[in-house]
């Protein structure tokens, strides 16, 4: 299987995630009074569901637009860590490819790539870029398309569809295959405990602090066990 096909296959199950999540954003965006064009453009330009919901929610509550946008961006700061984590694998790709990867670097594409690249040390940068493109090939169109569907269908979507469960399920499904060593497990447990303990920190700061400490814990456990 080519790296691109491999990436597409690994990304495919996230259709079941991106479709409900995108639809959820489409419904909420339309109910918040955004035009169809704006809701779809929001998903296509920003490509970050959690931050879009944050910004939209705050704007709805009457927060100043600048505050709403900055809060949404704070939710996205974690992706700076994803960007750094991919440097050893994709850093020597051509600049234009790195620019496109930046546009498509979401939780799903990052997590799949990180897990696969550690398993495939023989891959060239070209192979890795192709794999990354494969992971995005379903996820990105599904995200934008589902937003459009949600915005059009709106209240016509059946109530029994548990749209909200798609988000936690996506993250668990991304993390579970990464738990390959005691160091990975230690980082994950640290992340959970500290995020819950730091839930009161504003601007999504609890997650960022928890993540930085969890990274250090993982690296330290690796150093001591290998």
């Amino acid at each position: 299987m080519s790296p691109f096909a491999r990436g597409a296959r690994d990304g495919a199950p996230f259709l079941f995630i991106m479709v409900p999540f995108g639809a959820l954003f489409g419904v909420i965006g339309t109910e918040a009074g955004l035009s169809f064009e704006k809701v779809v453009a929001f998903s296509a330009i920003v490509v970050a569901g959690a931050s879009q919901l944050t910004t939209l929610g705050l704007a709805q509550e009457g927060a100043p637009l600048a505050v709403a946008v900055l809060s949404g961006l704070a939710v996205n700061l974690r992706m700076m860590m994803y960007s750094a984590a991919l440097v050893p694998h994709l850093g020597d790709a051509p600049p234009w490819q790195r620019a496109v990867i930046g546009y498509l670097l979401v939780d799903q594409t990052y997590a799949l790539a990180q897990a696969r690249f550690e398993d495939a040390p023989g891959w060239s940068t070209r192979d890795k870029v192709a794999y990354f493109a494969g992971t995005a090939s379903y996820v990105f169109p599904a995200w934008v398309g589902a937003t459009a569907a949600g915005a059009l269908l709106g209240a016509a979507l059946p109530d029994w569809l548990p749209l909200g469960f798609a988000v936690p399920l996506a993250f668990v499904a991304l993390v579970a295959p990464m738990l390959r060593t005691a160091a990975h497990a230690a980082a994950a447990v640290t992340s959970v405990v500290l995020t819950l303990a730091l839930a009161g920190v504003p601007w999504n700061g609890g997650l960022l602090i928890a993540a930085l400490i969890a990274i250090a814990v993982g690296a330290e456990v690796e150093r001591r066990t290998t």
Partner: protein, 99 residues
């Protein structure tokens, strides 16, 4: 939401994602930094999901969501494959919700 706000948010989000990948490029990283970067995913994502399922909502912690996440975690770690994790999580959620 204005078009300007959407545009600024899109540009800034892209800059966040491009940052290290675009600016560091192929300059070599020291081993200790590479060792830390390997744990980025497992350090960020559990923290994203934990408050969603473990913080009680109005009706208390949702049992079906907990069951779904537990099944996805167990099967995903065992099969080392997201497809199995999604299937197991959805099945456990549906089973727990119906019971």
């Amino acid at each position: 939401m204005t078009w300007l706000a959407i545009g600024i948010m899109g540009l800034a989000t892209w800059a966040i994602r491009w940052s290290f990948l675009g600016l560091i490029g192929d300059r070599p990283l020291p081993d200790w930094i590479r060792r830390h970067l390997r744990y980025t995913g497992v350090a960020v994502m559990p923290g994203l999901v934990a408050p969603l399922v473990l913080t009680p909502a109005e009706g208390g912690v949702e049992v079906a969501a907990l069951a779904g996440c537990a099944a996805a975690l167990a099967v995903g770690a065992w099969r080392r494959d997201a497809m199995w994790a999604v299937a197991a999580g959805a099945a456990a959620y549906a089973a727990a919700a119906l019971l």
